[in-house]
């Protein structure tokens, strides 16, 4: 590996390994299995650096991670946001606020249909485009649009319900 390739891989790892980790965890891999699969994902990236178009690194890495999870028999998607996923972002902010948001996140996203949730997270959170998601999940572009629309409806309904509950409790 040339020094330029190593530097590019290092940049990819530092910028994207958390998103790869989250994508794998959403597929239900344990933290240890996720560490292995994350590493494998970047090994694939290292071998194919020349094929990764600048600007599409994130989609390439998530796609590789999802195929890896699929090959491990992990086709089921679920929402996970465990405490271990918050450690590196808690510095500098009040830990209870991070925990509160994580709990709210669980409450809301666990109410969204898993297939819809994945599209929602990839689009709204991870910043992928609809064509990228269609390619990753191997579904038609129209299905991405319809899933995203339904995901938003479910997401907003769940968020509204949690909001009302918070307000109701705040009035007690």
């Amino acid at each position: 590996m040339t020094e330029a390739d190593r530097a590019r891989l290092e940049g990819l790892f530092n910028e994207h390994h958390a998103v790869v980790w989250r994508a794998l965890r959403r597929r239900g891999l344990t933290p240890d299995a996720t560490a292995d699969a994350t590493q494998e994902t970047f090994l694939v990236a290292a071998r194919r650096l020349g094929d990764i178009r600048p600007g599409s690194e994130r989609a390439f890495l998530i796609g590789t991670a999802l195929r890896m999870a699929h090959s491990l028999g992990r086709k089921t998607i679920r929402w996970v946001l465990d405490a271990d996923m918050d450690q590196h972002v808690s510095g500098g902010r009040d830990a209870s606020a991070v925990g509160a948001d994580a709990q709210l996140c669980n409450l809301v996203l666990s109410r969204v249909d898993p297939d819809l949730m994945e599209v929602l997270v990839l689009y709204e959170v991870e910043g992928l485009t609809s064509p990228e998601i269609a390619k990753l999940l191997e579904i038609p572009l129209g299905s991405v649009a319809s899933r995203l629309r339904r995901a938003r409806e479910q997401f907003r309904e769940a968020a509204t319900r949690v909001q009302r509950s918070v307000e109701r409790e705040g009035q007690k």
């Binding site: 290092e10 790892f13 530092n14 390994h17 958390a18 980790w21 933290p31 240890d32 560490a35 994350t38 590493q39 970047f42 090994l43 290292a46 600007g55 994130r58 946001l81 465990d82 271990d84 996923m85 918050d86 450690q87 590196h88 972002v89 808690s90 510095g91 830990a95 209870s96 606020a97 925990g99 509160a100 948001d101 994580a102 709990q103 709210l104 996140c105 409450l107 996203l109 997270v121 709204e124 959170v125 910043g127 992928l128 485009t129 609809s130 064509p131 572009l141 649009a145 995203l148 938003r152 997401f155 309904e157 968020a159 319900r161 949690v162 909001q163 009302r164 918070v166 307000e167 705040g170």
Partner: protein
């Protein structure tokens, strides 16, 4: 960051998301391996890992889509944040063990401390919401196992325990499903008609109506 060509809609974070929706979406973009785990993976790949602080900033920037939107933690929902935050730490989750790999020296980055114990007597019982969800999930599991009577029993417990619960519509929908499963079509239909009348705008209405054989709207 990817460009948005081919996309037909604006991201919620860039449009009309509520404060709570923003908090949830941003929290969904947080998280990743512990610093120790990151360092182990990086070393196995032969690259260097940036410091946790830098990595957090990079992740934050990525999650925010590169915008300078920042973190409006103090805007709106402050009351919610403070009362929720007081309780949720130390919730039902358990932190994973750091992944151990044989090669290389010990990792220098410290492992982040475990969350503090939950505050006693905090005002907002988030765990009750989790308990609500658990009870409904148990009912849903019973229905999936064709144990309609068991599901109805669980749903009765839900309604008794949480008369103003956050997921009463879901509980009612599950009740309709359980009644249909038990062949109690008349009761299911009556309940479904009430549900559709009371929750006309709910996404669940269509499903409930279909389950009970009603024409929706």
């Amino acid at each position: 960051m990817s460009d948005r060509r081919g996309d037909s809609s604006e991201r919620l974070l860039d449009s009309d998301a509520t404060d709570l929706e923003r908090r949830v979406l941003r929290a969904a973009g947080k998280g990743g391996p512990s610093p120790e785990m990151s360092a182990l993976m990086a070393r196995a790949l032969g690259v260097s890992v940036v410091t946790p602080a830098t990595m957090g900033a990079a992740t934050k920037a990525a999650a925010a889509g590169g915008s300078a939107a920042g973190w409006p933690w103090a805007v709106g929902g402050v009351i919610c944040l403070s009362v929720v935050g007081a309780l949720v730490v130390g919730g039902p989750w358990t932190a994973s063990r750091p992944h151990s790999r044989p090669p290389g020296p010990a990792v220098s980055q410290p492992v982040a401390p475990s969350p503090a114990p939950a505050a006693v007597g905090a005002a907002f019982p988030v765990h009750d919401l989790q308990a609500e969800i658990d009870l409904l999930d148990a009912a849903r599991t019973a229905i999936a196992a064709r144990a309609g009577a068991r599901a109805l029993d669980l749903l009765r417990r839900y309604e008794h325990r949480y008369p103003t619960g956050s997921f009463r519509p879901e509980a009612a929908a599950l009740r309709v499903e359980a009644l249909v499963q038990l062949g109690r079509d008349g009761e299911a239909r009556a309940l479904a008609e009430r549900f559709v009348a009371e929750h006309r705008d709910s996404l669940l209405s269509e499903r409930v109506a279909a389950m009970a054989g009603l024409r929706h709207r």
